[in-house]
Amino acid sequence: MGLETIFGNSFLTSRVDEAVNWARKYSFFQYPFVTACCGMEFMSVWASTYDIARFGAEFPRFSPRQADVLFVVGTVNEKLAPSLKRVYDQMAEPKWVVSFGVCATSGGFYDNYATVQGIDKIIPVDVYIPGCPPRPQAILDALIKLQEKVSKETVLKYKGLK
């Protein structure tokens, strides 16, 4: 069937989605938005024991314009919320967001006047990581989940455009 039968072994057919997603999911450039204690666990994931580089996601970009994945690590308070939103808005499509730890996910035990009760009130979130703080294994698990999610996306649809 298909082109291979006509042209022999000199062709390999695939879907564009698959090829692009394969490239995307193994080369996440992350933007670490680290505000609190969760950052300690996050750092350990980068070190040799857990080695996030095995998943191709070890390269942090400290400019949101060059990043693919926004890691929101730690407590986000109301005072900081506009900055987080701005960082997200500056990221180029396609972009994904990981909410790291209960504070970022739901405000955690900071159910008070100062804390945003979950960053999904401000920006869309793709993967949530539970834990206070999450263990490094949970972070790698989230990364794999994000890769699965990315591999199911289509390049024709942009999340930001409705």
């Binding site: 109301e78 005072k79 919320a81 939103k85 006047y113 100062a114 945003v116 009130k121 401000i122």
Partner: protein
């Protein structure tokens, strides 16, 4: 002589009550004498370090129904005599103000801004009394007991 004795002697008519507990001395006094006491502590008794300055809201506190609502609390330490002393000054809800100590200890500056931010106590003579933790648009003072527990004041719109 311990610092608490010297203070009791000098400000006997201004002191409302005093107490010693677990080796710590506390004095509750009228707020008018804060500056005089602070100068006396610093210059005569060598309390060179203002280690903390904070406030308590006693609204609804059992047994304090008729007492003034707020109390500012000052903790001093002397590097020379290795002594500590705490001063408390009751403040009425109707006139929430007290003298600033910024002229005596620079450390008082940010402490007083914090107390202003959280409790709405005005420090007369403070050079720059702005909020220090909350944002400028924030309404009210969150550590007051009558600030609603679940009240939120988002700076940008939230989606549910």
């Amino acid at each position: 002589m311990k610092a608490i004795e010297s203070l009791k002697e000098k400000f006997s008519d201004k002191i409302i009550s005093h107490d010693s507990f677990a080796g710590q001395d506390f004095i509750t006094a009228k707020k008018e004498c804060l500056k005089d006491m602070a100068v006396f502590l610093r210059d005569e008794l060598h309390f060179d370090f203002l280690s903390d300055l904070t406030c308590v809201d006693y609204k609804g506190y059992p047994g304090r129904e008729n007492a003034p609502r707020f109390e500012t609390v000052y903790h001093f330490y002397s590097h020379k005599t290795k002594e500590r002393i705490s001063l408390k000054f009751p403040i009425e809800e109707t006139s929430p103000n007290i003298d600033s100590l910024t002229g005596l200890w620079l450390a008082a500056n940010w402490y007083e801004r914090e107390v202003y931010d959280m409790y709405g106590i005005h420090f007369t003579g403070h050079p720059d009394l702005r909020r220090i933790l909350m944002y400028e648009e924030f309404k009210g003072h969150p550590l007051r007991k009558d600030y609603p527990l679940k009240a939120r004041q988002p700076r940008i719109p939230h989606e549910d």
